[in-house]
């Protein structure tokens, strides 16, 4: 197990290094429009307050189920999508990062003019959506993306020489025969040859197309490569080739990777650190081996248990109840409380949990006439009949709902067809420290053993 010590050793040394990518309270909301006037009625909160650092030369794995916002985050990081709030900071020195964190720690309303000016200066120099033209060009050169689907990310009407040579031409790096030689060199690096120059993408297999994508990403010798599920469309034997290639290129060029994937065995193999996302927020972040050996968030543990391992039986094989909640109405408190097997009374039980229960109970949801919300935690529910109201209150006090939910229930009073429910209000669960460089957003200090 020499790899383990080497890897975690590397991660422990890294905090002194430069932060190539600092993500601070990043938010990306998509408006939901309705009606003839296309009025905005709500927002899908795809990324909702994510912060992490990516140090030079490291590989950060970003994992989560589909719809958790990992691809949107990747698009914000690579400058393909404008953040709604917060920011992505590129190429910070350790001092600049400390300065930034000090400034951001002050609430916006309390900042002095001097602090604002300082923050603006930092922003135009480093924040991806505020960069000056010149700095923007530098950022775009140094940040490249490899997408999941090589069919749609390679132009079917262009020859390989044009696809791989295009970044070089856009940035006026090379032209004519020099361009061609550079393209051949790039193709050679990814295991393709001169004979492939004048072919179209459809003439290649999936693995070869992904190699072309990688060659294109490397054309400008970038510092950061965002890999958005680069191998999930490939067979294992080809996946192994691509993962080896990515590692080799990282060694040769000193690349930094943001590796987005849902495959835990791949991320365990490739990443130094892992960020686990759930419904737009970070559930847990930490060094790879530590996260795998002792997950501190029940969601991380659930992911590990649901991923079968080829040789290791220790995690077992178990699924998770329920579905990912709607990111337009994320659950209060801990976002995972609707599915968590270790849920407690402090996890953020709210009115929506009652509504969810009504939806699953035969006949009850049709009886529901209206919900008047005071806040996320208290509301008055009106039913079509007194009987339905009484059934709800009876259920809220019985085994029909989880014990933790009953514990969090402060009030459930029935007056005719109206039920007043109130739960103990809870703040959003923040990330807390669990070890060196290891954070998790869970109310439990330690998870009970499996």
């Amino acid at each position: 197990m020499t790899t383990v010590t080497e890897r975690s050793g590397g991660a422990a040394v890294a905090p002194q290094g430069d932060i190539l990518l600092g993500v601070r309270d990043l938010r990306r909301y998509f408006p939901i429009r309705e009606g003839a006037l296309q009025r905005v009625v709500g927002h899908v909160k795809a990324v909702d307050g994510v912060s992490f650092d990516l140090r030079r030369g490291q590989t950060l794995g970003l994992v989560g189920e589909s719809g958790c916002g990992k691809t949107t985050l990747g698009r914000c990081v690579s400058g393909l999508s404008e953040p709604t709030g917060g920011g992505v900071y590129f190429d910070l020195t350790a001092e600049r990062a400390a300065q930034l964190d000090r400034l951001l720690a002050v609430p916006e309303a309390e900042r002095t003019d001097a602090q604002r000016a300082e923050l603006d200066a930092l922003g135009t120099a480093h924040r991806v959506d505020l960069l000056t033209r010149q700095a923007w060009r530098r950022f775009r050169r140094n940040t490249q993306v490899v997408f999941q689907d090589s069919f749609s990310s390679l132009n079917p009407r262009q020859l390989v020489r044009d696809i791989v040579g295009r970044p070089l031409r856009v940035h006026r790096e090379a032209s004519g025969s020099a361009l061609r030689e550079r393209v051949v060199e790039l193709l050679d690096q990814v295991g393709l040859g001169r004979q492939h120059l004048n072919r179209y993408p459809h003439q290649f297999s999936g693995g070869q197309r992904q190699r072309i994508s990688i060659a294109r990403a490397l054309a400008l010798d970038p510092e950061l490569v965002v890999l958005d599920e680069p191998t999930s469309a490939l067979d294992v034997s080809v996946q192994a080739q691509i993962l080896n290639l990515l590692h080799l290129l990282q060694q040769e060029h000193g690349l930094t990777y943001l590796f987005i994937t849902h495959d835990l065995s791949v991320v365990r193999h490739m990443a130094d650190r892992i960020v686990v996302m759930y419904v737009g927020r970070v559930a847990e972040a930490g060094p790879t081996e530590q996260l795998f050996a002792s997950p501190a968030h029940p969601y991380t543990r659930a992911l590990l248990q649901a991923s079968p391992d080829l040789f290791d039986d220790s995690t077992g094989f178990r699924g998770l109840e329920g579905t990912v909640p709607d990111p337009a109405r994320p659950p209060a408190g801990c976002r995972f409380h609707t599915r968590c097997p270790l849920v407690t009374a402090d996890c953020g039980w709210e009115v929506d949990d009652v509504v969810r229960w009504l939806e699953e109970e035969p006949g009850m949801f049709d009886e529901l006439a209206g919900v008047e919300r005071g806040s996320a935690f208290d509301a008055a529910l009106t039913f079509g009949s007194d009987d339905a109201a009484r059934r709800l209150v009876a259920a809220l006090r019985s085994d029909a709902v989880p014990q933790a939910m009953r514990d969090a229930l402060e009030r459930a009073d029935v007056t005719g067809a109206r039920v007043d429910v109130a739960f103990r209000p809870v703040d959003e669960v923040e990330l807390t420290r669990r070890g060196p460089d290891h954070h998790a957003a869970c109310v439990l200090e330690d998870l009970p053993p499996v």
């Binding site: 020499t2 790899t3 383990v4 890897r7 189920e65 589909s66 297999s205 999936g206 693995g207 067979d235 294992v236 034997s237 080809v238 996946q239 192994a240 080739q241 993962l243 080896n244 590692h247 080799l248 060694q251 849902h262 835990l264 065995s265 791949v266 365990r268 193999h269 490739m270 795998f292 659930a302 992911l303 248990q305 649901a306 991923s307 079968p308 391992d309 080829l310 040789f311 290791d312 094989f317 178990r318 699924g319 998770l320 109840e321 579905t323 990912v324 939806e359 699953e360 109970e361 035969p362 949801f365």
Partner: protein
């Protein structure tokens, strides 16, 4: 063929030398080229392999879902059930009776496999109307010997024409017609509840696009298992799903399989999943089975170079980064292949004999078979022509 284990389990289906070819521009593609295996009662047989190895075509041949042309049934047979019906030659009537009733299939992408224009109720009702009309009538409390029974039977089979529907909507048939609807609804709700769908009566009125991926897959499973089939063919049923949902669906299939004693042909490219799901596994490469045997044994002690390569390519904690053992090269073109081991072009042990003739599947241990000259050298070959490997004793 596989020597049966003692005590011999009954075999539900026997595939013998199945060949399915496709006509293509440059010649004939041998997509499935001489595949033989058994599926035993109540077991789960895994068919694993990479893209294009012919596993889906093999599975689809069971229900004759391969379009012909461009497909060509080039030979072989699939004998099914105690009466040994040959599915490759059975007439359409027989096949129609078997499809959905005794052999059911679930597909990779439920969004494509379910009809977007029908509600969940209508999709599942189709199965009962096709195969379970007497049960529907019995459940509605209608005896078989009623004088106007033919009308009600047509109602239950959902085949009533417009004038017949008029008659059914009027007394005296109206109440019994409504009873049939209620009985159908009950049966559909039961089928959905089997797959642990919460509040099935509500889900029944939904269209597939209103459901999540996991829910759609459950609907498809309830549809497939509605008639309690003897054989379930699952073609990568969880590939489109998240891991947490995948695990739930696998648990569900296993649970239902054990309760109903259904045999499952499980197709997957994911070896780590197969390890948890299948009793036996057959590894396919380029249209052939290269290795077959009990899952634990094949994964712990793989004998074919391809199986070994596949297992080594899966990233795990024991691999150092950048040192995954990839299988170099790609799957060969299957257009009119010459007689040779299909894997010879990528095999580290390939020898002249491998390029000249076909290895055949032969046992290396109890129930464990391999098609490789490493284990079964042809009698008349020179020793110099034969492959060697350090893990095989000669």
């Amino acid at each position: 063929m596989t020597p049966p284990r003692a005590p011999a389990a009954d075999v539900i289906a026997t595939v013998t030398d199945l060949r399915v070819h496709f006509r293509a521009k440059g010649g004939t593609v041998h997509a499935v080229d001489g595949v033989s295996f058994d599926i035993r009662d109540g077991e789960t047989l895994g068919l694993v392999g990479e893209t294009g190895c012919g596993k889906s075509v093999t599975a689809r041949s069971f229900l004759r879902l391969v379009p012909m042309p461009p497909g060509i049934a080039a030979g072989g047979s699939i004998m099914f059930g105690p009466e040994r019906v040959d599915l490759t030659t059975a007439d359409d009537r027989t096949l129609r009776r078997i499809r959905g009733d005794r052999i059911a299939m679930i597909f990779q992408d439920p969004a494509k496999a379910l009809n977007p224009a029908l509600t969940v109720r209508d999709q599942i009702a189709e199965v009962f109307s096709e195969h379970r009309v007497p049960d529907v009538l019995a459940r509605a409390g209608i005896g078989p010997a009623t004088a106007d029974g033919w009308l009600l039977r047509r109602r239950a089979a959902r085949r009533a024409r417009l004038p017949e529907r008029f008659a059914l909507a009027l007394p005296p048939l109206r109440s019994r017609s409504a009873a049939i609807d209620r009985a159908l609804d009950d049966m559909i709700a039961d089928a959905l509840a089997e797959t642990q769908i919460p509040n099935p009566r509500k889900v029944m009125d939904r269209y597939p696009h209103e459901l999540s991926g996991g829910m759609r897959q459950r609907v498809m499973i309830s549809q497939a298992l509605a008639c309690n089939p003897a054989l379930l063919i699952a073609d990568e049923p969880t590939t489109a799903l998240d891991v947490t949902v995948q695990a739930r669906i696998i648990e569900l299939i296993r649970d239902l399989q054990q309760r109903h004693d259904t045999a499952v042909l499980y197709i997957s490219h994911d070896l780590s999943l197969v390890r948890w799901v299948c009793d036996r596994v057959a590894v396919m490469y380029a249209g052939r089975i290269v290795e077959a045997g009990p899952t634990a044994q094949v994964l712990a002690d793989p004998q074919h170079p391809y199986t070994r390569g596949l297992l080594a390519a899966v990233p795990s904690a024991t691999h150092r980064r950048g040192e995954l053992v990839a299988i170099e090269g790609t799957v060969p073109e299957l257009i009119d292949p010459p007689p040779s081991c299909r894997f010879a072009g990528r095999c580290a042990h390939a020898a002249p004999a491998c390029r000249r003739r076909d290895p055949i599947l032969a046992p290396v241990a109890d129930g464990h078979e391999v098609a490789c000259f490493l284990h079964h050298p042809p009698d008349d070959a020179d020793a110099d022509d034969l492959p060697t490997a350090d893990w095989v004793a000669r």
